[in-house]
């Protein structure tokens, strides 16, 4: 019997292990990353973005943030269009992650302006009050670009001398923000995948002063980090003396803008969005 022949036993065990390995891990190489499934708009990383990605890896951001949006209602509504394998062909290693101690970042690119990320990385709780993310203020240090060219060559990514020269004087934070703004943004989903506003756009709280305290509280929680507690503006513009129609303001808050304001429809819902609209309209410069 084979229990008396260790070498035969060893070989047989190896073959047994390799069956499932070959079928589920080796054979799929034929299909995954097939050039036919490639997405033309997905581009390799620039030297600055790649340096940012390496910092993301160095800090272990993938321990808390996933980068895959599943084709499930709650994922797609919360984070945006679901992930496709063709979006990851330049990702060595992949950074899909396995646990969400923080939100998914697969569609973070273009969601916020650069200034938001800078403030958030330096002091996460200044932008997201109960966040448990560590502060990364030390990333203000100069970027070490000594390996950049070798990295681009190792990965076969195209680059120019101008790209490399542009790394001089950049900080690690610059690289990180450049990377974050690229993630998930190579397909034009943001133009098509915006949360749609359903139903009639009439403010149910027009001139209803009783909702102002709640509207103010919601504003401070969700909007104050960018537009300032007193609406004077900071990362985002000054909102005092807002003269747009209620429906237009509602649309902006609910769906966000191309200029880098995220939509709040998924977290506020319609009713609470109207309360914020009512509060913003009630504030005037004295």
């Amino acid at each position: 019997m084979i229990e008396k022949k260790p070498i035969v036993f060893l070989l047989l065990a190896t073959v047994t292990i390799l069956v499932g390995t070959v079928i589920t891990m080796v054979i799929p190489f034929r299909w995954i990353n097939d050039p036919k499934l490639a997405i033309a708009s997905v581009k390799p990383y620039t030297p600055l973005q790649l340096e940012g990605r390496d910092i993301y890896i160095r800090e272990g951001c993938n321990n808390c943030h996933t980068q895959t949006v599943r084709p499930l209602l709650s994922d797609v509504e919360r984070y945006g269009e679901y992930s496709k394998s063709g979006e990851f062909v330049y990702d060595q290693p992949f950074l899909w992650g396995s646990r969400r101690n923080g939100p998914d970042l697969a569609r973070i690119g273009g969601k916020y302006p650069d200034a938001w990320h800078v403030k958030h990385m330096k002091d996460p709780r200044s932008m997201v009050p109960r966040s448990n993310m560590p502060a990364y203020a030390f990333m203000n240090q100069p970027l070490d670009s000594s390996l950049s060219e070798r990295k681009m060559k190792a990965l076969n990514f195209p680059y120019t001398q101008a790209d490399l020269d542009a790394l001089k004087g950049k900080t690690e934070l610059d690289a990180m923000v450049a990377y974050l703004q690229k993630v998930g943004n190579d397909i034009p989903w943001r133009k098509t995948g915006r949360a749609a506003v359903l139903g009639e756009l009439k403010n149910p709280y027009q001139d209803n002063m009783s909702v102002l305290p709640e509207g103010k509280a919601l504003y401070r929680e969700h909007c104050g980090q960018c537009h300032g507690e007193e609406l004077k503006g900071e990362v985002g513009p000054d909102l005092r003396d807002m003269d747009k129609p209620d429906a237009a303001i509602f649309g902006t808050i609910y769906s966000g803008t191309q200029a880098g304001m995220p939509g709040f429809g998924d977290s506020l819902g319609k009713d609470r969005t109207w309360k914020v609209v009512t509060y913003i309209k009630s504030v005037h410069r004295r």
Partner: protein, 467 residues
């Protein structure tokens, strides 16, 4: 006096001692990061942030404590089951030094941010290569010891040991393939969805070949030793072994359900994960049936308590795991705290309880003494059991609650809660988990004290009456 029947047990002592050191490090770091999640001010950038400490925690736990003790017990068990000494005690000693060097380098490089980011395969290529050297030495030494054995038949434990040796080698080499840029930086050889598929083939099968087959080898050896009666069924052992190592390697992609890898790969992974219940539970039943007529030992023999609770957590683990691999259930709990709850039932419950029993059994024997205090061993048992349950149960509840909140919708179909609103609700569970970690740590300290007193007692005995 230690070298009874020509067995080289010094190296067993060495591996046990160092695995306990790394185990303590793993739990200390684990407690720290569980507090960091609840209280972010405890992150001290750049070196002591959650992002950098978490891989130190997993590597110290799985490789330092887990693999370290497996090396000890593989050497201990193999010598006795083959009735022959280690093929090369010198090589084994070299292996011990290189092993410790690798784990120490791992801790330092990870804190410095040198990290390949692939879970449980984070180490950069020079350290990873050192691990390969350690493993090759280990494999050669064990296989050669078995080849020159004096016992014709190989007992179940040796099958699991051989499967571990090849399994880990294959997994580690394939998943660590990388393109070096410098001594401290490399990129994975695979891209995107391929990289993910390779990584989770590795990631899940590390659970098979590192955290299942070795503790089973140890369980099958030490349960009969502790109870004094043989294993219930050899044939059940044969069937369970071959079906376990055949099925496990198909299941990795159940970590990638709903991710952009081909559907048929996901479906195969799900099907094989569910089928895996059979061989897993065959081992559980083999353990339980071996206790027929012996259940009174649960009260009288503290070793049996550790072993039977260990295999019971293995049983619970191998029901929960396959359930999680079902698409609908995965859609709900994946990416939530349910999963750390599950993982820690396996590592703190199954693997560690079996290892504690093996250490309690082995150390007094190779030092020629008695355990210092059985009462303290019982205190240790209850503390680690309580700590583990606090951890797992709080995380299961947190996971289900967060999943429910993440899925809640308003009448108009929009989501009811933002991500942050769901997260704020689970802070209290994170406090309970951190507390559970402290209780477990207390249990571990009782264990280490008991072992230290046992060994110190042996040394004074030995000095009093020189052989």
């Amino acid at each position: 006096m230690n070298q009874q029947e020509g067995y080289a047990d010094d190296v067993v002592k060495g591996f046990i001692t160092w695995s306990m050191v790394w185990g303590l490090v793993a739990v200390l770091v684990g407690v720290l990061i569980s507090f960091q999640i609840a209280f972010p001010q405890l992150n001290l950038p750049p070196y002591l942030t959650y992002g950098r400490l978490r891989p130190i925690h997993t590597n110290a736990g799985i490789f330092g404590w887990g693999i370290g003790s497996f090396m000890a017990f593989f050497y201990y068990i193999t010598q006795r089951l083959t009735r022959t000494g280690i093929w090369s005690p010198g090589l084994a000693r070299v292996q011990l030094w290189l092993f410790n060097l690798a784990i120490a380098l791992a801790a330092v490089t990870l804190a410095l941010g040198m990290n390949r980011s692939k879970e449980y395969a984070e180490l950069e290529w020079p350290v990873a290569s050192l691990v390969v050297v350690v493993w090759v030495i280990f494999a050669i030494n064990i296989v050669m010891t078995i080849v020159k054995r004096r016992e014709e038949q190989m007992y179940i434990s040796l099958w699991y040991i051989l499967a571990t040796l090849v399994g880990v080698a294959v997994l580690y080499l394939v998943n660590n393939a990388s393109i070096p840029v410098s001594l401290t930086k490399s990129y994975s050889a695979y891209a995107g969805a391929n990289d993910a598929n390779v990584q989770w083939w590795y990631g899940h099968n590390a659970v098979a070949m590192v955290l299942t087959t070795p503790p089973l080898a140890i369980f099958y050896y030490f349960l009969p030793k502790a109870t004094g009666v043989p294993i219930y069924s050899h044939r059940m052992g044969v069937i369970a072994f071959w079906s376990l190592i055949f099925m496990y390697l198909w299941t990795g992609a159940h970590h990638l359900l709903w991710a952009p890898v081909p559907d048929w790969v996901q479906t195969l992974a799900m099907a094989f994960s569910v089928m895996l219940i059979a061989p897993s539970w065959a081992a559980v039943f083999n353990g339980y049936f071996s206790m027929n007529g012996q259940w009174h030992q649960m009260r009288e023999n503290y070793l049996v308590k550790f072993l039977i609770f260990g295999i019971t957590f293995y049983g619970a683990q191998t029901l929960q795991g396959p359930s999680q691999s079902i698409r609908t259930f995965s859609a709900f709990i994946h990416f939530t705290d349910w999963v750390p709850g599950h993982v820690h039932m396996g590592t703190l419950g199954w693997v560690s309880l079996v290892l504690f029993a093996a250490i309690y059994y082995t150390l007094p024997r190779i030092y020629g003494t008695e355990i210092y205090s059985i009462r303290l061993a019982n205190v240790h048992f209850w503390l680690v059991l309580t700590g583990q349950l606090m951890f797992s149960i709080s995380m299961w509840i947190a996971g289900v609650q967060q999943a429910a909140m993440l899925n809640a919708t308003n009448p108009d179909g929009s989501l009811h809660y933002s991500f942050m609103e769901t997260m704020i609700e689970i802070y209290p569970y994170w406090h309970i988990r951190a507390l559970g970690g402290v209780v477990y740590l207390a249990g571990l300290c009782v264990f280490l004290y008991n072992i230290w007193k046992t060994v110190a007692g042996a040394k004074t005995q030995g000095a009093a009456q020189p052989a």
